[in-house]
Amino acid sequence: MLGALLIVFREVLEAGLIVGIVMAATRGVPGRGRWITIGIAAGVLGAGVVAMFAGVISEAFQGSGQELFNASVLGIAVVMLMWHNAWMARHGREIADEMRRVGTAVSEGSKPLTALAVVIGLAVLREGSEVVLFLYGIMAQGTSGSALLAGGVLGIAAGAAFTALTYFGLLAIPNRHIFSVTSWLIALLAAGMAAQSVQFLNSAGLVESLDQTVWDTSWLLSEGSILGRLLHILVGYTERPTEMQLLVYVAILIAMYVLMRIARPSPRNPMPAAAE
């Protein structure tokens, strides 16, 4: 039971951290609850569908279907996160100012919520499909399944609790800093996802250049340890990155920075709230 709990918890944790960060990043944006719910619901539904067709996906593209699927899912999430950050760079200050004045919601448009709902949906879909497959495997085995299943359910609950912890932890950040903090968290998240996506393409045999390992820090911080896992999700920590992974990681961070600079409103029109 403990084994099942841990396996499920690990998968849910990964999606949960992303959900927690996204929720904190959209604090004060109207209608976000609905979009986040839609994202999670679509993700759970999608996870079921993906798990159902796991065999087909796995054997597609000469046995590399799953890698291509994961790489695409991560790639789309990276683009969505970049879009979100660009939008926030432009409107974040207005939202923060208004939040300070009104206390809660603002009337600003809800454009990036669709992007973030997609990110949440994809995160839940990717990790969720593994949970569904794992739990299905337990049920298919029959014997002593109930204890394992209970472990699985507890794992989901623990993962959800961690999501809440992430969210409320981030909420402790003062209003005026929260958008810059979450923007950087999202930039690092996106860079890590992109590097992971590259590794999936490598496993599929699509990206083979620059495949030498740059360093090996497994002796210092194993990716299997709790801290290693958390850092892997949050900032893309990899114990043995390849040259291509490192390159893509840095490139995404730079692209994100440039994009946010371009999107930032010009200082010639200062926000009205600055005068208050």
């Binding site: 796991a54 796995s58 046995g63 799953q66 890698e67 879009w83 794992f134 496993s203 083979e208």
Partner: protein, 109 residues
């Protein structure tokens, strides 16, 4: 702006996505949550292809941090994974869903 970024990314993918020469293939079979063979010898510093065949009715996750591999193999199914080039050494792998029994080592020499 977004469109440009997307196109640049796509072009980049096409450039690096050159197909490689056929890598040598090795077969790993999962049965009763155990790998056969439990040891595979491969040439070091070369890319190889491992076909993981899951003969169990339940899914398994073929995983190795050392080889940078993580792949779910559904029950009664199979998948192919490319690894390497690996420096000479021992690279343990395991089935994450049945860690107690599903264990093995890849030896690069």
């Amino acid at each position: 702006m977004r469109k440009i970024l997307f196109l640049v990314g796509l072009a980049g993918l096409l450039v690096v996505g050159t197909t490689s020469a056929h890598a040598q293939n090795y077969v790993l079979t999962i049965k009763d949550h155990r790998f056969t063979p439990t040891e595979i010898k491969i040439p070091a510093n070369k890319r190889v292809e491992i076909t993981v065949v899951n003969d169990d009715p339940t899914p398994e996750e073929f995983e190795s941090k050392e080889m940078k591999v993580e792949k779910v193999i559904p029950g009664k199914s199979k998948g192919v994974v490319r690894v390497g080039p690996l420096k000479p050494g021992r690279y343990p792998f395991f089935g994450e869903f049945h860690e107690a029994t599903a264990k093995g080592t890849l030896i690069a020499e």
